[in-house]
Amino acid sequence: MTAQPGSLVQEFKFGLAAPICLTWELTYACNLSCVHCLSSSGRRDPRELSTDECKRVIDELERMQVFYVNIGGGEPTVRPDFWELVDYATAHHVGVKFSTNGVKITPDVAARLAGSDYIDVQISLDGATAEVNDAVRGPGSYATALRAMRHLADAGFRGFKISVVMTRQNVGQLDAFKEIADRFGAQLRITRLRPSGRGADVWDELHPTAGQQRQLYDWLLAHGESVLTGDSFFHLAGYGEGLPGLNMCGAGRVVCLIDPVGDVYACPFAIHDAFLAGSVRDRGGFAEVWQSSELFGRLRGEQSGGACTSCSAFDACQGGCMAAKFFTGLPLDGPDPECVRGHGERALATAGYGPVPRPSGDHSHRGRPHGRPVPVTIGMGPPGAELVQRGVPDRACDQSPLAGFRPSAAG
């Protein structure tokens, strides 16, 4: 009862008995070829977990009391056994939140989803207009997403999520995204673009400018109560006031990823051998990987902040995102490439772009070059967002550490 908030965060750094935010990518197959796909998805991998293997993983998650899984891909709904697995999970007290581009959300499916407390849906949308969205996600993807939203809203599904990856082209559309969410009775969730997967190829062109980062931060402070971020922007805490969430890297501590072939990585944005902890196919299953892997043990130990520790913002930003550093070739104990003090930009300029680590797998569609983002006009940002007292969106996170974490809750 006397515990200070910091001490609980400290406990989280040592790791938990089971992850809070477990992302499970069910397949690498996808009908789209988004230019920034963090898992380089497109084609199914022949080694993907079978239906029975998936059910054994769910059994294990039930035993570990993993409250819910964030299912993604690829496009998870294209797996023929997708609905069977969703039903199996919810019947075994494992809630399901799944991310989709909306391709399979028919009126019938929407009605079924609206009927379950244990299922949450997240529709991906990366532009508030078809022009901006389709440049990143492919032709027709805006119409598909909007149709799915309409079906969910018509079925009475309240509070589904609209998930937006923030890019240079859409930061100026924040208010428009919010309007779309409000129109469908949905909740807006915005996350950070990572240079992971195919995102590494487009990061230079797509990641927000320094000015846009500030704009985004101000907008988040003004809308903290109603917008989810999955604690994705904790590197922006360096501006001063922290954003809702843990403000720490949750990789291997409260977060991890199970990929379609059962490999367990420290976080969804770190699909690389350097962050591979084991496989659910190993003898001890997922539980042993989570509890005993050497990699996760290291991530839960003391982390060196390197040069960043002498910066006055370090306590706030904690040096930023491990995956963002890794895939831009920066040292893990150095600044985030989008460090708000500009240390990342300087480090990148000094180091130059040498060879940077590539993701371990590439399941991109063959023979169809990824569409390159087309230049679009960046609209006006929100007018001087006034700082209102920020609230804490009390929803559990999805792909990253603890949105809505409230250290002061319950004693």
Partner: protein
């Protein structure tokens, strides 16, 4: 739930229980709670509070649950407030003929 209740704590002499849609996972520091209806997480910061929450349903009152968990008289007001926080977020609810 009035501000007063959050300040004063819940009625310790009433009967309480864990909300049926809440799952509890013990952790080194105490426990994590997840409410499937509201999709909210909560944290119990001491093992003693976990013991209190776990025994609410089998004890005649919150006061009895606290006593069974070894909560001292001096600590009681803090536990009453913690339970009020849990009630405000629907993690626990009243039980019996209410």
């Amino acid at each position: 739930m009035s501000t007063n209740t959050l300040t004063q704590g819940i009625d310790l002499d009433a009967a309480w229980q864990l909300h049926p849609q809440v799952s509890v996972r013990p952790e080194r520091f105490g426990a994590l709670l997840y409410h499937f209806g509201t999709r909210r997480l909560s944290f119990l910061k001491t093992p003693a509070l976990l013991a209190v929450v776990n025994s609410l349903a089998s004890q005649p009152s919150a006061r009895a649950a606290c006593a069974a968990a070894g909560v001292t008289g001096a600590e009681l007001p803090a536990y009453a407030r913690a339970l009020a926080t849990l009630e405000a977020s629907q993690m626990i609810c009243s039980r019996g003929p209410a």
